[in-house]
Symmetry: C2
Subunit: 403 residues, 2 copies
């Protein structure tokens, strides 16, 4: 077996595999899985019908069943460019876009293009584990910059600065954040961009949750905040359109006038030619959901987004209000995405997850999966009745264990 | 830019990009593209309606829109295992299967799991360029073993033996072959397997064209031929089902009793967790086309396969008969797949391709794209009227250039 395969470690899998999932077959109580960031788990969040209808038409139409350009179908690239242009207030062209096998595929291409074995990238802690998995798979080192729970999970800029060395090649910024549920202000993003500028480092902006932001908060794409730092934006339809199984994501490059990304862009095109991953059926449907032409479709898309956001926001608020009354745990307020981190106080996160699973059949992921101990992550996509049941069980659990 | 991205070279792209594609907008003569191995180019080869209907149903059904297991949807893995069991006459289980982002994704995972940077793999010349692209991308060396045109592109076993060194980790065998259109006999495959056994090397069997074999020839999966050599089979639906844009392929591991692949299999599972590539929509449709349950579907699938094979066979035969009458070029007989290699005699392959394109607007790929000079590759998926037109143009071309 190769070194690469041996080093390809998914921390979530590694930790989850050590957890003991109880057998519930003889139990009246059902398992409540608040563990996986999959909005389709409970069936309450419905995908956009316009998207499904379009794919069904494309399947039967037989016009996109052949090989596509390795960087993506031109009309789909154009739609992504238009959407991104609107989000960043500057012109993005189809040439700036590469369509990939999900957002993970986008991250894999971006990271592999920007850093070589022996070099390093900066990633957030707590943060999504795929950054580390991809880096280690390619012999790239990861250095974790801390996010501050007492400041709504903002970046500890000084600590980040201290990590940069001569082998640092990029900073990954995830906003809105998995697992924190945080949404950064324009001011904070400006500070991150300034730090990257000072170090002459590009930013990989993982903005897959970009549209999932709650009232009182606004999503700012990093490429809107700065034009003097090279930004490689990665995104996709998995979360915003509630279809993680479809596996279509993208890279959008925002270079600086000096052309710092010229070679990286060529490198990313090279890498896009290896597996040509995203299925043509979903790619070809992107224009109708990202840049709908008919008024009906436009309204359908807007309504869909606002309903999704509203459901998630209500769920998040409900969870916070309910959990705040429970002794022993510390609740942080979600501002977007579909996650909330809860401090587990005197119990460590792995024990908390395992015992909560054993005793109350509520499945939450230990923060260790995301590089932070003494927190657990809850996904709040479930219907409120289920979330309420989960909260009641967590309360029973905490009342037993925390005095 | 990283070393990896710089070294990720697609030889087809690199060579094709140096060709000058003539502007045909003011020309009555149309370009005939016999260059890309895409059966959907001309619209004459229709995909299987059962497959399309099933995907359309799955899209609207909303039951498979969420994240799937990184190695694939269980029912789809089972269908692949059943089909493979029948082809190799031994029991294959769903545990032996990993579903991937196309057959390229399967090759990427298999090659990355079996060889580390600085080690090497043996690949055929002429052969499909993706093996080299994936290897170089990961710092793995490729050593080319020659195929013999005078023996219907069989492997030069002695030359292959001579290439093996202490850093060789696997042999890639492609049967039926792209670009040769050859189909190996059981006897020849036995010789290849024996050589691998002697060197204690596993084989990556690229059998993506497995079902596309013409009368008088029989496809033997390598895992049927030998049970004493570890075989990692890769395949997919792109060619057999005429849907290359859908991007669903697979790996099937056939280990030896000693368990030579135990660690490689774990490594491949690790690698499958990085991008979780194949779209759920197509994965979930695999059972109905690989192991159809209803008699109607079973007949539809069989009829589809036999019609596809028959069309390709007729096209291949037509091309051979017609091209054999043309002076200056040497025709080799296709036995399967959708390709034919033609010796370009006194003209080198790149000149032949470029001039044929300039003068006659027939686009064929130079053999250099596949590691062989003085041959060009023709794809014979086009309708016969178009193939006839192409042959007439090739004849004019040859009569001018070869005396």
């Amino acid at each position: 077996v190769s070194i690469c395969a041996t080093n390809t470690i998914n921390p979530i899998r590694r930790i989850v595999d050590t957890l003991n999932i109880p057998d519930t077959s003889n139990n009246d109580k059902k398992l409540i899985p608040l563990s996986i960031g999959d909005p389709t788990t409970f069936g309450n969040l419905k995908p956009l019908q316009v998207l499904l209808d379009r794919i069904a038409t494309l399947v039967l139409d037989q016009r996109v069943h052949g090989y596509q350009n390795s960087t993506g179908i031109p009309s789909a690239k154009l739609a992504i460019a238009k959407q991104q242009s609107a989000r960043v207030n500057r012109t993005v062209t189809a040439e700036d876009v590469i369509i990939t096998s999900g957002c993970s595929g986008a991250l894999e291409i971006a990271i592999r293009a920007m850093a070589s074995a022996g070099e390093n990238i900066l990633v957030p802690a707590p943060g999504f584990s795929i950054y580390q998995t991809i880096a280690l798979s390619n012999g790239i080192e990861v250095k974790f910059y801390p996010l501050l729970p007492e400041r709504q999970w903002e970046v500890d800029i000084e600590a980040m600065n201290a990590l940069v060395d001569s082998k640092t090649r990029a900073i990954i910024v995830n906003n809105p954040s998995n697992p924190c549920g945080s949404v950064y202000s324009a001011e904070h993003l400006k500070k991150i961009a300034d730090a990257a500028f000072d170090h002459k480092l590009p930013i990989i902006a993982d903005e897959i949750y970009g549209n999932l932001v709650f009232s009182g908060h606004e999503f700012h794409s990093l490429a809107k905040i700065t034009s003097r730092v090279p930004i490689v934006h990665v995104g996709g339809i998995a979360k915003e359109f509630l279809v993680p199984g479809f596996r279509v994501g993208w890279i959008v490059s925002h270079d600086v006038p000096e052309g710092a990304l010229v070679e990286v862009r060529k490198g990313m095109v090279n890498l896009s030619q290896v597996i040509i991953g995203a299925t043509s059926l979903v790619q070809a449907a992107l224009p109708c959901i990202l840049t709908p032409e008919s008024e009906t479709d436009r309204i359908a898309v807007e309504t869909f987004h606002s309903e999704t956001r509203s459901t998630l926001e209500k769920n998040g608020l409900f969870l916070v209000r309910r959990l705040m009354t429970i002794p022993g745990i510390a609740v942080t307020q979600p501002q977007g995405a579909m996650y909330i981190l809860i401090g587990t106080g005197s119990m460590n996160d792995k024990d908390f997850s395992q015992r909560l699973l054993d005793e109350e059949l509520v499945f939450v992921l230990p923060g260790s999966c995301f590089g932070i101990e003494n927190y657990v992550r809850l996904v709040f996509c479930a219907p409120q009745t289920i979330l309420e049941d989960a909260c009641n069980r967590i309360e029973s659990f905490c009342r037993r264990h925390f005095k």
